[in-house]
């Protein structure tokens, strides 16, 4: 694996941005890896976006700052606009329900309609964040195992276990089918 993987998840309050980061970091801990997660909250919660900066590494982590994310997962317009320029080598995953992609960017961008998928497949928007987790787990399969992330979902979200397991499976299988392929709106 790469020594250091950086993931930035950002959206507005209530989308489960912190939970997504927590689940990935929890999976990293149970896999014997090092991890850090910084959460921006307080005024920023009210001001438009919440941000989880997750770093996973097989070595001790010095800087916990995500400066060059391997994956930017943007779940709101404010989040997308604020952090899109950080990405140079990684992939931007955005929810087209909220975001119009910036076609001038020279990075891989993947539309991932988590909210719509949640409504369509599970009947409720609240499962969107676990679908995102499943999708990211698929993309991170070189770093974290599917089982480790699935277990972390159960550990961090004790409620709705069967629904969340289904949401996770939906997200994961989408990563397998379209994650690696250039299903990119812009390039």
């Amino acid at each position: 694996m790469e020594k250091r993987t950086e993931i930035l998840v950002s959206g507005f309050g209530g989308q489960g941005v912190v939970r997504v980061g927590q689940i990935l970091s929890t999976a990293a801990v149970s896999s014997g890896l090092h991890t850090t997660m910084l959460v921006s909250h307080g005024t920023e919660t009210r001001g438009g976006y919440v941000r989880s900066q997750v770093v996973i590494s097989d070595e001790e982590i010095d800087s916990p700052v995500v400066e060059n994310p391997d994956f930017l997962c943007a779940l709101s317009k404010a989040a997308y606009n604020r952090f899109k320029h950080l990405v140079s080598k990684g992939t931007i995953i955005y929810d087209p329900a909220f975001i119009e992609p910036d076609e001038t960017l020279d990075v891989r961008q993947v539309p991932f309609p988590a909210r719509d998928i949640a409504v369509e497949k599970l009947g409720r928007e609240i499962f969107a964040n676990v679908i995102v987790v499943g999708y990211l787990a698929g993309l991170l399969s070189g770093t974290l195992t599917k089982e480790a992330v699935a277990a972390a979902v159960r550990e961090r979200i004790p409620k709705f276990q069967s629904e969340n397991a289904a949401a996770f499976a939906v997200g994961y299988s989408l990563a397998e089918t379209l994650g690696g392929a250039p299903t990119v709106a812009t390039r």
């Binding site: 980061g21 927590q22 970091s25 929890t26 990293a28 801990v29 890896l33 090092h34 991890t35 850090t36 997660m37 910084l38 959460v39 921006s40 909250h41 307080g42 005024t43 920023e44 919660t45 982590i61 010095d62 800087s63 916990p64 700052v65 400066e67």
Partner: protein, 390 residues
């Protein structure tokens, strides 16, 4: 021992419990509230008491009062509460009562932004109360694991030195999540290299020795030892007095019990200093981790750059600064606090510079630009605090 994903707030809680803390007194304040909440859940499970106070003045007084009654105690706050600790902090210093104080620094000026990190109480933690004539012990964790380890160590030092010890954290350390090893038994604590000293009770009628001795048990009331302790200038027996000679003895003790045992308090991480680097980054707390990444990145590029991360802030380890170099102090404030102490400590032929950021961490890229400019002798990147730059 268990390995979990946790915040620094939880780490401090578990560290305190492992150290034998059985009273936490606090007043809610972002970003230290979570320590209080964790304590309210965890302490009763181990037979300890969570006492919520009417304000921070009361919070620290309750903690010190509990310690005076024989229970190890802690309180936690952020800047706006830390200033209110001035009163009980002085009382604990003068009466030589062990207690642990956590300050999860947030960004100022004054009350600032509740949920953003800062490092504005570097000097305040050195002089947290009135009157001078004392030294303080201040430790600064840079990670969640270190927050646990240093909390245990803070209790250990508080007992040995008979005084308050401050854990000067920042919001990123307290609110940040990281992998954490939590000791679950005394064997775990020992295996992690952590030291715990049980509370001992001062049995003599004399209140303090007029010397720099440490390892003197603190006064504990309720054992009919005839103890007397107060915030006034005491005689060696503890009686209040207006005699200047007694003041000399008391002040000597409070200053030199710390100064003469600096070797027990020197804690730091120095890296890449062996080949006389041209540039040395100095920092503490969470920005020190970005500084370390920047130094490593510079070394990958073949640049002679080193770093010092301070863990023990006070007494300030000036003896570390023997190398003439270009020093860069990296801090979470815009006025420059640590930099002044570095300026005082560096040898002749050194230059000292400052990089401040507030509300969020600096980036490795930003520090790289500073390092490059320092090495090439070019002007440093524009002072971002000039009004026009906004």
């Amino acid at each position: 021992m268990k390995r979990v994903l946790e915040t620094g707030n939880a780490a401090i809680t578990e560290g305190a419990i492992a150290a034998g803390c059985r009273v936490f007194a606090g007043y809610p304040i972002t970003p230290a509230t979570e320590i209080a909440e964790n304590m309210s859940r965890r302490l009763p499970q181990v037979g300890g008491y969570y006492l919520q106070a009417e304000d921070e003045l009361a919070a620290m007084h309750i903690a010190v009062g509990s310690s005076l009654g024989g229970l190890k105690a802690m309180t936690a706050t952020s800047g706006p509460g830390f200033i209110l600790y001035a009163d009980p902090y002085g009382w604990a210093l003068g009466s030589e009562i062990p207690v642990v104080v956590v300050n999860a620094q947030r960004v100022g000026p004054v009350s600032g932004i509740t949920g953003a990190p800062g490092q504005g109480e570097f000097y305040f933690s050195r002089y947290p109360t009135q009157g001078g004539n004392f030294e303080t012990i201040v430790l600064a964790p840079a990670s969640v694991q270190e927050a646990l380890n240093l909390t245990v160590e803070a209790f250990y030092l508080a007992e040995r030195f008979r005084m308050p010890v401050t854990l000067l954290a920042d919001q990123l350390v307290t609110d940040g999540w990281e992998s954490l090893s939590v000791p679950e038994t005394p064997d775990d604590v020992a295996a992690m290299g952590l030291r715990v000293l049980p509370r001992r009770i001062h049995s003599g009628p004399e209140f303090y020795p007029a010397s720099d001795e440490i390892d003197v048990p603190p006064v504990v009331l309720g054992h009919n030892t005839g103890a007397a302790c107060s915030d006034w200038t005491p005689t060696e027996q503890g009686y209040d007095t207006e005699e200047v000679e007694a003041q000399h003895k008391h002040a000597y003790r409070l200053i030199y019990k710390v100064r003469n045992h600096r070797d027990l308090l020197r804690r730091y991480e120095a890296y890449y200093l062996d080949d006389n680097p041209e540039v040395v980054l100095v920092s503490y707390g969470s920005p020190a981790r970005v500084a370390k990444s920047a130094v490593k990145r510079a070394r990958e590029r073949g640049l002679k750059v080193g770093g010092i991360r301070l863990i023990g802030l006070w007494p300030f380890p000036e003896e570390l600064f023997t190398l003439p170099a270009k020093y860069l102090s990296v801090e979470l404030n815009n006025d420059g606090q640590l930099v002044r102490e570095v300026q005082r400590a560096v040898p002749k032929g050194s230059a000292v510079h400052f990089f401040g950021k507030c509300g969020e961490l600096p980036t490795v890229a930003e520090l790289q630009r500073m390092i490059d400019a320092l090495l090439s002798g070019e002007p440093l990147p524009a002072n971002r605090w000039e009004w026009e730059a906004w």
